[in-house]
Structure formats: C-alpha cells, structure tokens
C-alpha cells in the first residue's frame, strides 16, 4: 500500500504542472458552456461522463508509463492505484478507499481543485459538477479489461461533508475466447 503512495508522489513531482486556478476556471468555463449547449442537466451529466471516459482511456497509459507499477487486473487492487497514484498524479490530491469489497468500493476525498470558486445555483441542484471524474475512472479501467459503473454518492457542492465516488464492478472482459481456453 505504502509504495503506491510513493509512486504517486514521485510521478507527481516529475510531472509538468499548471496553475490550479487556471485549471479550475477552464473546467468551470467548460461545464458552463456544456450547460448552455445542452440545457438539460441530466444530459450535461452524461456529456461530462463521456468526456471523462475519453480522457481516462488515455490517462491510463500515461499512468503505467510514468510509474511502472505492475499490471493489476484485480478489481480491489485498482482502488488503491486510483486513489493513491491516479488522483495524485493528475489532480495532486489523494483519495481514501472506503469499504472495499470484491464487488464495489468508494473513493472519498475532501480537497478538490476542480471545485475551487464553485457554487451551484439553485436551478442546478441535480448537476454533478465533477461527473467527469467518474468517466475518467470508468474509461481508464475499461482499458485494463475491467468494466465498472461509477457515480457520485456524496458531493460537497451539494452540502455533503465529503466527496464520495462509488465504483461498482460489472465484469472482467477477457481478451478473447483463446485466452479462456488456456486459463
């Protein structure tokens, strides 16, 4: 466990960084633009999730390339990697893994550079502002043959005391029938 935290830290130190305010503001501007384009809040959530998925499927390669951590095809092991390496590398924060079981786990975190300066107006109560993160996790795990379902259960923007993303295991995708015959 400790070495995941260390490889996350190392990767974070080596990575190129941008000012976190620029990041928060551009993300905010993007969400605001999507809200204008789609008007429907549920559709906005879906679009954020889809964008995240495309991002995640690329970030995973960078994560493996920069940290050299071994391939983990075990669902429970992915929790620590996402929480301690992924979050640290790409957001500069770490998450905690809560209630890990073979079928699901939760990631909780309090600091989140994405929501600096953000207040949700009343008419956006259903907006999941950081839904992009769910998409990233889903897209990344998809690339290592793990299908998951991922959503926010607690959100500090909506008055909860912490952010919580729940990740639920759906299935392990085999590369093809040939693998199965040898397994």
């Amino acid at each position: 466990m400790a070495n995941f935290a260390r490889s996350g830290e190392m990767a974070f130190l080596k990575a190129d960084k941008i000012n976190s305010e620029i990041f928060s503001l551009t993300y905010g501007a993007m969400v605001a633009q999507i809200m204008k384009d789609y008007e429907d809040i549920e559709e906005v959530n879906r679009q954020l999730d889809r964008m995240g998925q495309n991002i995640g499927s690329r970030l995973i390669d960078e994560l493996f390339a920069k940290t050299g951590i071994p391939v983990s095809s075990n669902f429970m092991e992915t929790a620590e990697v996402i929480a301690k390496v992924g979050f640290k590398m790409f957001l500069g924060i770490t998450a905690n893994v809560v209630n890990p079981t073979p079928q699901q786990y939760s990631l909780t975190f309090r600091d989140n550079p994405m929501v600096d300066f953000v207040e949700l107006p009343d008419n956006c109560a259903n907006l999941r502002y950081c839904n992009l993160l769910c998409g990233v996790i889903r897209g990344a795990l998809e690339q290592v043959q793990i299908k998951v379902e991922c959503h926010f259960v607690r959100d500090m923007l909506r008055g909860d005391e912490t952010n919580e993303i729940q990740v639920r295991f759906l299935e392990q995708v085999r590369e093809s029938a040939l693998d199965q015959s040898f397994a």
Partner: protein
Amino acid sequence: MTIFNFLIFNPSGLCLYFKEFPAATSSKNNPDSWKLMYGLLHGLKGFSQFMAPRPSPSGRYLRCLSTHEYKLHCFETATCVRFVISTDPRTPDLHDQLATIYNTLYVEYVIKNPLYKLGDRIDCELFVTRLDSYLRSLPCFASS
C-alpha cells in the same frame, strides 16, 4: 546484426503501425502477415501463462521468440497494446527498449496527440520520425 521490422498491435488485433527495414528480404507489409503474427502472439500469450510454474507478479510472460533465422521481441502493455520487433537471432533481448518506446514515444506522441483517435492506425509524424531515429540509434541496428 539487423532489425527487420517493427509492429504495434492494438488489443483487438489491429496492426496500428508497421515499419519494414531494408534488411528484410521477404516483405511482410500486408494485412495477412499481420493477422498471422497477431494470432501467434495471442496464442503464445495464453500458452506461456498456462506453462508458467507460478503466476508472474508483473502479469507479463512472453519476452521473445527465437529461431535460427530471426528473433521476435515482444512487449505487452497493461492496456494490451503489443509492440513487436523482429531482428537477427543474435540480438540481445530488446524488451527494455520496447518499454522505452512505449514510455517515451507512444505515450508522448500518440496517446497525448489530441488528433489521434484511439484504435486508429498511427500516422503521427512526430512519432514516426522519433521512432525511426530511436530504432536507428540502437546498437543492434546496422545496415547490412
């Protein structure tokens, strides 16, 4: 010692990139040979997992396939992208060099290229030129 050809396969077996060097006398630049190659790699992966006395902690098994006339060096990423290089049989293991290609060239110039769509054939100019000069700089690359 020489390099004959270099290939990248995506997880569904599509050849993303193919490069042949002049030393290869019989050309493999056609989709049928790529399919054969992928089929072989796929089968070998299953077989090498099956034969392993204990599970490999890194999740990797296959490193190279050696014959009298050539040697195939393989590297598979966690995302099941396969890098393959075929060389003269006396060439030492190029597993680490393939890992370097993945870490410093594929991720930097292909994955991070916003114009590249995952799963498409690679025609990113930067990647192609950097890869070519990297392969040419390897000690095992010598024009025959």
